[in-house]
C-alpha cells in the first residue's frame, strides 16, 4: 500500500528547484520520479543569438555553485573552434583558478549534505566560512566572488595580483587543517557513518550502465577522470592523480570528494610554484573577427560534479549550436535507480551525495 508524496520544488537545503514524486510504502521508498525543468531558462537557444563573449554570463549561471568551471569550458570550446592558443602562463593560472573553484564547490556540497542529514547547520556554517575565504581569494583575481566573467579567449582578463601566491599558500595550509577537522568531526560520529554506509549502493557495472559521472563514478571503482584520461591544461605536467575508491555507497562518495579537496590543494600549490613568466592576458571582449578553424568543437572538462561535454557548432561570430551535457543531469537521471528500495531518510543522503545543482540540469 504505497502513498505518493510530493517533495516539492521548495527545499530546506540548496538543491534548487527539484520536484520529487516519491512512492512510499511504510518506511521504504518504492520509486522516485524526479521532475525537472522548473529552472529551464532556454540557455541553449539563447546563446545562438549572441556573440561569443556575450554568452559568458549565461554559461556561468548554469552551475551557480562553481561558475568558473563552466565559463572556462565554454571559452575553451570557442578557442578550439576559432583555433586560438592559450598562453603558457594562462594555462597555469586557469588551472589554479579551476582547482580553487573545485575546493569551493566541494565545501558547499559538504555543508549542504551535512544539513540534509539533520546536522543542525553546524558543518554548514563552518564549510561556508571556508568557502567564503576561497571566494575572497578568487575575488582578488577578477573582482567578483561568484560570477567572474574573467575568462577571455586565449587567457584571462587580469593576471594574478601581486602577492596572490603568498595569500593562496596561506589559505591552502589553513584549508588542509580544516579538511582534517571536518573529516575528524564527521567520520568519528557513528550516527553519520551509520547513515551513510551501505546507503545508495552502486556497483561498477550499474554505474557505467546508468551513465553517472564524476565522483559518483569514481566511488564505484571506475577509474575515469577527464583530468587524467583526457588531460588538459597543467594537470598532466603536475602529475594529477584521480581519487578512485570502490565501495559505491554514500560514505565512499563523501570520501572521494574529501580526497579530491586534498588533491586540489596539492595541485594549486604545485601550480603556483610552477607558474611560468609572461602574460596571461587573453583577447579583449571586442576582438577582431576570427576565421572558424573547426566548425564542430567538442570539449570535455571535469567539473566538480563530474564530466561536462561542450558541443559547439561554431559560426564566425556566434554559436550556431551549443549543447551542454552537464554532469548533474547524468547523475540525477540515475537517482530513480539508485534510490529504489531505500528508506525514506536515506533518500536525502543519496540526493546529497550525488551533488546536484539544478541550474545545470535544467539549463
Amino acid at each position: 500500500m504505497s502513498t505518493r508524496i510530493n517533495i516539492g520544488p521548495v527545499h530546506p537545503s540548496t538543491h534548487g528547484v527539484l520536484r520529487l514524486l516519491v512512492d512510499i510504502d511504510g518506511d521504504r521508498v518504492e520509486s522516485v520520479e524526479p521532475h525537472v525543468g522548473l529552472l529551464h531558462r532556454g540557455v541553449e537557444k539563447l546563446v545562438e543569438n549572441r556573440a561569443y563573449m556575450q554568452n559568458m554570463p549565461y554559461m556561468e549561471k548554469l552551475d551557480y555553485v562553481a561558475p568558473l568551471s563552466y565559463a572556462e569550458a565554454y571559452v575553451s570550446a570557442v578557442e578550439h573552434a576559432l583555433g586560438i592558443e592559450v598562453k603558457a602562463r594562462a594555462v597555469y593560472v586557469r588551472t589554479v583558478l579551476l582547482e580553487l573553484q573545485r575546493i569551493a564547490s566541494h565545501l558547499l556540497w559538504l555543508g549542504v549534505m551535512a544539513n540534509d542529514l539533520g546536522q543542525f547547520y553546524t558543518v554548514f556554517m563552518w564549510a561556508f566560512r571556508d568557502r567564503d575565504k576561497v571566494l575572497r581569494l578568487m575575488e582578488e583575481t577578477s573582482g567578483a566572488r561568484m560570477f567572474h566573467v574573467s575568462m577571455r579567449l586565449g587567457g584571462l582578463q587580469h593576471d594574478l595580483p601581486k602577492g596572490f601566491e603568498d595569500r593562496c599558500h596561506e589559505l591552502l595550509t589553513y584549508l588542509e587543517k580544516q579538511v582534517d577537522k571536518y573529516r575528524n568531526f564527521l567520520e568519528k560520529n557513528s550516527v553519520f557513518v551509520e547513515r551513510m554506509q551501505g546507503v545508495g549502493l552502486l556497483d561498477k557495472e550499474r554505474a557505467i550502465a546508468l551513465g553517472v559521472t564524476g565522483p559518483v563514478l569514481r566511488a564505484s571503482g571506475v577509474n575515469y577522470d577527464v583530468r587524467s584520461n583526457n588531460p588538459y591544461y597543467a594537470y598532466d605536467a603536475l602529475g594529477f592523480e584521480p581519487q578512485v575508491r570502490s565501495g559505491g555507497d554514500c560514505l565512499t562518495r563523501y570520501d572521494v570528494r574529501m580526497m579530491e579537496i586534498e588533491e586540489s590543494i596539492r595541485i594549486v600549490r604545485e601550480a603556483l610554484n610552477a607558474l611560468p613568466e609572461g602574460s596571461a592576458l587573453g583577447m579583449p571582449i571586442r576582438f577582431a573577427l576570427q576565421a572558424v578553424q573547426e566548425r564542430v568543437s567538442v570539449v570535455k572538462r571535469e567539473m566538480p560534479r563530474g564530466e561536462c561535454m561542450m558541443y559547439l557548432v561554431a559560426d564566425p561570430q556566434q554559436p550556431y549550436r551549443l549543447h551542454v551535457r552537464s554532469p548533474s543531469f547524468a547523475n540525477l537521471s540515475a537517482l530513480s535507480e539508485i534510490a529504489k528500495g531505500c528508506k525514506t531518510a536515506d533518500l536525502f543522503a543519496i540526493l546529497g551525495s550525488l551533488d546536484i545543482v539544478m541550474g545545470e540540469v535544467d539549463r
Binding site: 540534509d116 539533520g118 556554517m125 563552518w126 550516527v191 547513515r195 528508506k343
Partner: protein, 331 residues
C-alpha cells in the same frame, strides 16, 4: 504544603480556602520560575549554538540579545491563526495545551528543596515517569488530528520511538531508586549526601541522559518533530501563535528532563554555601546546556537506527548497570 511561610495564614484564611490559596500561590511561583528558566534557556541555546557554529547569535535586541526571544514572541503571536480544513479542531487545539499542562504539573509536584515543595509523595519518581510517558501519545493524537497524512506518519514515529527508549529509561530509574532505597524524590536526593549517583553508576547516567534526549525529542533523536526534509513533522499545521506554546512546551520539557537528571544523578539540591534551590537550578542548567551542545553537533538518526540503538545498546547497558549496581552497593 512544605512552606516555611503560609500565605493563607498571613491573609487570615483558614481551612480549605487557605489550602487552595496556598496551592495557587505556589503554582504561580512555579510558573514564574518555569517561564524565567525557559526564557533564559532559549537565549542560552541560541548563543551557545551560534558560538559552536562560529557566529554570534542574537546581539542587537537588548544587551547581548537577551530581548530577542521577547521580540520573537511578539512577532509570533501577532500572526494569523489558521487551522487546516481537515483537522479535528478540538483534538488539534487541545493537544498542545494538555502536554503543556502535564509538563507544568510535573514540575509543580517536584520538590525544589527540603523547605520548598508542594508535596513530597512517597512514590514521587514513579508518578513522574508514568505521567511523563503520556507525552508521545499526545503527539500521536495531535498528528492524527492534523488531518494531514504526513503529520500522521510522523506522529506514528513518536510512538515507535517511545517503545525504544522507554524501557532503558525505566530500568535505570529502577536502579537508582533501588540504590536510594525509596521512590520519593527527597529520599533519592538525601541518599546522595555522600556521593552522587553519577559517580556510582556512570553507565546508568550515560544511558539515562541519552534516553532522556530521546524522550524530549531533541537531536539526535528529533525525527518526529523536525523530520522536515522528507515528511513535515506533526508541527506543520500549527499556526504561529500556537507555535509559541510549542516552543514553551519544548523548553519546559527540557527543564523537566534536566531537573530529573539533576535529582536522580547529580545530587539534587545538595551542596554547600548556596541555598538548595539554587544548587538544583544550577545543576539542571548545566544538564540543559549539555543537551544544547549535543544538539548543535549531532547528526539526526534514522528511525531504525534509533530502534537498533535502543534495543541493542541502551537496554543491555542499562541492565548491565543494574547488575553492577546490585552487586556493588544495593543491599
Amino acid at each position: 504544603m512544605g512552606f516555611g511561610y503560609s500565605f493563607a495564614g498571613a491573609m487570615l484564611l483558614n481551612g480549605v480556602v487557605g489550602e487552595v490559596f496556598d496551592t495557587v500561590a505556589y503554582a504561580m511561583m512555579v510558573l514564574a520560575l518555569v517561564i524565567a528558566y525557559d526564557y533564559l534557556l532559549s537565549w542560552v541555546e541560541r548563543k551557545v549554538v551560534a558560538r559552536i557554529q562560529g557566529r554570534y547569535g542574537p546581539e542587537q535586541v537588548g544587551k547581548y540579545g537577551i530581548l530577542q526571544n521577547l521580540a520573537d514572541f511578539i512577532k509570533l503571536i501577532s500572526k494569523e491563526h489558521s487551522l487546516p480544513k481537515n483537522a479535528d479542531k478540538a483534538l488539534f487545539l487541545l493537544g498542545i495545551p494538555i502536554m503543556l499542562a502535564i509538563a507544568l504539573f510535573l514540575i509543580f509536584i517536584l520538590p525544589f528543596s527540603p523547605s520548598l515543595s508542594s508535596s513530597d509523595m512517597s512514590m514521587g519518581m514513579l508518578f513522574v515517569f508514568v505521567v511523563l510517558s503520556f507525552m508521545p501519545l499526545i503527539v500521536f493524537v495531535n498528528g492524527f488530528a492534523s488531518g494531514n497524512k504526513f503529520a500522521a506518519i510522523s506522529a506514528q514515529r513518536s510512538v515507535v520511538m517511545l517503545v525504544s527508549y522507554e524501557l532503558p529509561l525505566l530500568v535505570v530509574l529502577a536502579t537508582v531508586c533501588a540504590a536510594a532505597g525509596s521512590y520519593s524524590i527527597s529520599g533519592i536526593v538525601n541518599a546522595q549526601a555522600n556521593s552522587w549517583f553519577m559517580m556510582l553508576m556512570p553507565i546508568g547516567f550515560a544511558v539515562f541522559f541519552v534516553a532522556m534526549l530521546s524522550e524530549l525529542g531533541r537531536s539526535p533523536f528529533d525525527m518526529s518533530e523536525s523530520d522536515s526534509e522528507l515528511i513535515a513533522g506533526w508541527l506543520t499545521d500549527v499556526s504561529a501563535p500556537y507555535y509559541t506554546l510549542v516552543l514553551f512546551l519544548d523548553y519546559t520539557r527540557t527543564f523537566l528532563g534536566s531537573l530529573l537528571i539533576a535529582i536522580l544523578f547529580l545530587g539534587g539540591w545538595q551542596g554547600q554555601f548556596l541555598p538548595p534551590i539554587v544548587w538544583l537550578l544550577l545543576k539542571s542548567f548545566a544538564v540543559s546546556v549539555l543537551m544544547i551542545m549535543v544538539r548543535a553537533t549531532s547528526v539526526r538518526m534514522r528511525m531504525e537506527g534509533l530502534i537498533r540503538f535502543g534495543w541493542l545498546w541502551l537496554l543491555p547497558l542499562s541492565l548491565l548497570n543494574l547488575i553492577i549496581s546490585y552487586l556493588l552497593f544495593i543491599r
